[in-house]
Structure formats: structure tokens, C-alpha cells
Symmetry: C2
Subunit: 328 residues, 2 copies
């Protein structure tokens, strides 16, 4: 019944992940927001994954992946590399599953993300983002300890876990009697939107699934336009510490090139305005990367007048001092 | 079937209000939050009314009241006195119902509340909180213009509208197969908790309904202990600009003395910590008054270990500069 049966992750995989996650993940709501409808002329529904356990959607994929590790292999623990949200997802899942977790994080990751990762009982190993290879460090630790590597996006269990976001969106839309014209989600490696695309298109094949990323990390927009994986256009910086993957994942892009309509981007200034809008009008704390899909809508780069649009807000782990600067 | 049939507001009134509000109010979710369960040892569910239209629950009561005004009487518009959240609720409802609104606000109300009230198209009249009588000013305007006064809490339609918060809580708890041991909500005049008490006790008669207020405005805690309306104990100040009523309402207390178990209070410092906790762990923007029930729980003044507890977060309209100071 779905057109995802020959993809690396199917709607059935996401159904199974949903069952695995039920006792542990927060079923985040689908929020309507009159203030946003008034500004955009669209019927906007928000999926606020900052309300998820650990403050981002990443817990879903991490927990689903780690639940798939055979009991006999759990003694060696897990290792992951992450700029912060995946780190917390893995650490929190490890705490629940009673596994040891080691996380390789960039030294410039937000303080709150490092502290929260340690708070879940994980060991944090810092590396230099510009000079060291985080994957190599993680693989070395995995080999030395017999630990299982939990990839941030390019893994079928991780993608299926993130897909439960889309499954909940589809269920709640159906409950409201609505069909989505557009679903927009932030992308970095592309795992979240790949899972969402599989789940949403299984129920609403006509929906346009659109990726959103910072101008400086526009690899998905470029890759979707080209039809093959392309890196981002230039070395840039962005306030979106969570969205700094430089090229789409292999597995995720195998899904996304088939199911996504296109990609949009937003500037750091537009993203900051979206964070402030969420504070002022919607009372939701978003980190910059979590607000990029909304930024594309609010800036007018994505025209959705007259349409039913779902905006995924992917996370809210932002340092207080940066947040204070963004909202005033 | 309910024990509220001889009270000024019944569960049936709240059912009717729910029908009136369906097309306009946001049905706020009931959120579970593992981080809060871990800290308190309770099963905590949050009702985040900062996600409501206008950023607080006040839209519910205002819209329900104003919908009850006969069409022939709507030409004179409405007038209300409010420190800010009721102001926005009345202004937004007037905009939807195409009525003129005049709001009498204290000159020291948060800037964001004054600006947002004007943003909904209302006329704002400022008064000196220490030297002028806001009720007299509002009545004068009402008389001069043939406008209808929309009271902030002491009115059956207003209470019934706020009661839809409790009705949604009860519905969602039933859907989760949970019965609440305790429901805690912020109080000022007492309209929100009166409506919640009627709706929740209609479905869960065993639930303890508890009011929460700042130490300096402890009139409900004192009045519930005494069995009759008492003013707060001393002239104090609080960061909770939304919770500065000095004595319970007459109608609201007629309900609350029958249905509430008791009152708890929290200090400004505890309230500030609750606002910061909501930022850091739950990614919800609360104004100080909106977080007082959570403050009572987090501070340990309310011991809920092993219990199922619903915490109502009543609003999130806070100026960015104050918020920045509270979270860092």
C-alpha cells in the first residue's frame, strides 16, 4: 500500500519503532497557532519536538537503534559522535537501557548540550571540529571497548525512530480531518526528514515534503536539485550548531531523493527572528537549528498562503546567554 | 451526577462553553515530562496554557463571556480591567467577534502585555495601581459608552470558560487511563481554579484540587484555611504581575471553598527557579505567575512523591528582558 517498500526504511519499520518507543518517548502534540495563521495566511500546524525527552527528536532514533542491539552485545556499551542533540538522545537511551555511553563531541558544542549529556551519565570526549575526525575517534573507541556505534542519521533503525515524528503527524492530521499540502522539517544529515517522508507519504501520498537548512549548509537543497549527493556550496558558519552536516547521508538521501519535493534555506538573521517569534507568540523555546523550517515560512521564502502546512520544530537545546541575545 | 449542581457554575455550563470555544481556542495538550518525573518522584502531567491563543488561559473565559452578550448589545463594545492577560484575552475575543474593546491596565504592566493588547486592536487606558481604582474607571467608561464590562474572574461565563481547561485535563487523563491524585493551578481572583475544580471533580471526585500563589499574595491559602474570604497577609510585591488580586472573588470562592483541598504558596526565588527549569528542561516559556504551581512542586512545598499530579501552567506573556534575567 505504501510506495516505500523498496526504500531502506518502510512505513512498517516505523510502525515497529513506534511500538518500541511508546513507554519512553513523549508523544508530542500537533499544535495549531492562530497567531501564525494570521501572519502567514496558511493553516499552520506545529510539531514541537523540543518537548521530546532530551529536548529534541534525537531520542527517538537513538532509543530505537539501541533497543535493536542484542542483549549479549550490550555489555560493551555504545559510542556516538554528535554536536549535542544526538549525544543527549544516546545518553538518555543508554541510561534507560542500562548501557555505558561514550560521546565524542566538538569542543565548541553549546555548554548546555555538553553538560546535559554528562547529566545522563555519559562520558564525553571532546575533539577539535576543524582538525580532528570525529568518526575516526568514535570508531577507535568502539574497537577498543567492544562498543556499538550509534550513527546520528545514516542507519535504518535511527531513521525509523525519527520517522515516528511523521507517523504522529499523520495520525493527528487524520484525527483533525486535515490533509497536509506541505510538511517542512530541518535537515542536517537528513534522518529526521527521511523518516517523516516515509511515514507521511504512506498516509498522504500527495503531500510535498520539503527540507529546510541554513544558507551556509545548503547541501540538501543543492543535492535535491541535482538528483545526487552534493556538499554544501562553501565553507560557512551558522548559528545552527545542530545543522552542520556538510553532505546528505547515503541511506537518508536514497530515501530523500525519491520522496522529497525540494529544499529551502534560511539566513541566520531569519532563523534568529523565528526563534524570537516562537518566544514571543508561541511560548516555545527553540534552538536556532530547530527553527529553520519556521524561518523559511516566516521569511516568505516558502509561500504557503491558502495551504495546510506542518512545520517541524526539531529541538530546543540552546544556551541561556545565546537565547537571551536572540529574543531581545 | 456531579456534586456541582448547586454551585454558581456547573459541569454542564462548562460543556456548553467547550462547544462555544471549539472553533477559536487552542486545545492545549497534556504533556508528560520524564525530566520532571525524575526530579519529583511523581507522575507529572503539564497543562501548558501558554500555548493558548494570546499566550494564557484568559482567552477562554473572555470569549465565552463575550459570546453570551446578545447581538443587540454588542454595538457598545466591551470594557475590562486587567494587568495584562485578561486584557489580551478580551482584546483577541473582541477582534474575532468584531466588537470594540477598551482595556484599563496598570501603568506598570509588562510592556509586552500592553503592546500585545493594542496589537489586537483594543484601546488601552493606563492607571496608577497605587492611587486609582481600576474598577471605577472601567465602570465609568462602560456607562459613558454603553459598553459591557467583562470581569476578569467573578462571573459565571468567565468561570465556565476557564473550566474548559479542566474539562480537557479530565478528558485527556481518561484517555491515558490515569486518575489524578492532585491538580494544582495558579490563582489570583480564583476563576481558573474554580472552573477546573468543577470540571475535574465531575469526572474524578477523589482528586485534590490545590491553589498556588506567591507568598506575598497568599489570600487563597489563608481563605481556604479560614473557610471564608480573607485578604492577603501583608502588603507585598511579587514578580508575578498576573497574580496580584488581594482577596478571592465572591463567586469563585463560593466554588473554591467547597471544592478545593487547600492552598500552597511559593517565594519569588522559587518561582524564578521554576521559570528557569521550564526553559532548560521543558522548553516552555512561562511568565512568573504561570509557573507558581510548578514552583510549589519543585521546591518541595508540595510533596507529590508516588502521586499522579497535574500542574497547570497558566501563561507565558513575559517581557524578553525579564525572561533573560530569569533564565541565566
Amino acid at each position: 500500500m505504501t510506495d516505500s517498500d523498496d526504500l531502506p526504511v518502510t512505513a512498517a519499520d516505523i510502525d515497529i519503532a513506534a511500538g518500541v518507543l511508546v513507554p519512553y518517548a513523549v508523544r508530542t502534540p500537533l499544535l495549531s497557532c492562530p497567531a501564525l495563521d494570521a501572519v502567514t495566511g496558511a493553516r499552520v500546524l506545529l510539531k514541537p519536538e523540543m518537548l521530546q525527552r532530551t529536548g529534541s527528536f534525537k531520542f527517538r532514533g537513538a532509543f530505537n537503534k539501541m533497543s535493536s542491539i542484542p542483549k549479549a552485545a550490550r555489555g560493551g556499551g555504545v559510542v556516538a559522535f554528535s554536536s549535542g542533540n544526538h549525544a543527549q538522545g544516546v545518553a538518555a537511551a543508554a541510561q534507560i537501557l542500562d548501557m555505558r555511553a561514550t560521546i565524542v563531541m566538538p569542543a565548541d558544542a553549546p555548554l548546555s548540550k555538553r553538560e546535559r549529556t554528562r547529566g545522563y551519565g555519559a562520558e564525553v570526549v571532546l575533539y577539535d571540529r576543524d582538525r580532528e575526525d570525529r568518526e575516526a575517534i568514535a570508531r577507535e573507541i568502539a574497537a577498543a571497548r567492544g562498543a556499538t556505534l550509534v550513527p546520528p542519521y545514516d542507519d535504518p533503525w535511527v531513521i525509523a525512530g525519527q520517522g515516528t515524528v511523521g507517523r504522529e503527524i499523520a495520525e493527528d492530521l487524520a484525527g483533525l480531518g486535515l490533509a497536509p499540502d506541505i510538511v517542512v522539517a530541518p535537515v542536517s544529515g537528513g534522518g529526521l526528514i527521511a523518516g517523516i517522508a516515509v511515514a507521511v507519504k504512506a498516509r498522504f501520498p500527495q503531500a510535498s515534503i520539503i527540507s529546510a537548512e541554513p544558507d551556509a549548509f545548503d547541501d540538501h537543497a543543492r543535492s535535491l536539485a541535482a538528483g545526487h549527493r552534493e556538499p554544501h556550496s562553501a565553507e560557512g558558519r551558522t548559528i545552527c550548531d545542530a545543522l552542520m552536516a556538510s553532505i546528505p547521508g547515503e541511506l537518508t538521501f536514497a530515501i530523500n531523493r525519491r520522496l522529497l519535493a525540494r529544499g529551502v534555506t534560511a539566513s541566520d538573521a531569519e532563523i534568529a527572528q523565528a526563534v524570537a517569534f516562537l518566544f514571543r507568540e508561541l511560548k516555545l523555546v527553540a534552538e536556532p537549528g530547530g527553527a529553520v523550517a519556521l524561518a523559511a515560512l516566516l521569511s516568505g521564502r516558502l509561500d504557503a498562503r491558502g495551504k495546510t502546512v506542518v512545520i517541524v520544530l526539531s529541538g530546543g537545546n540552546v544556551d541561556a546567554d545565546l537565547y537571551a541575545r536572540l529574543i531581545v
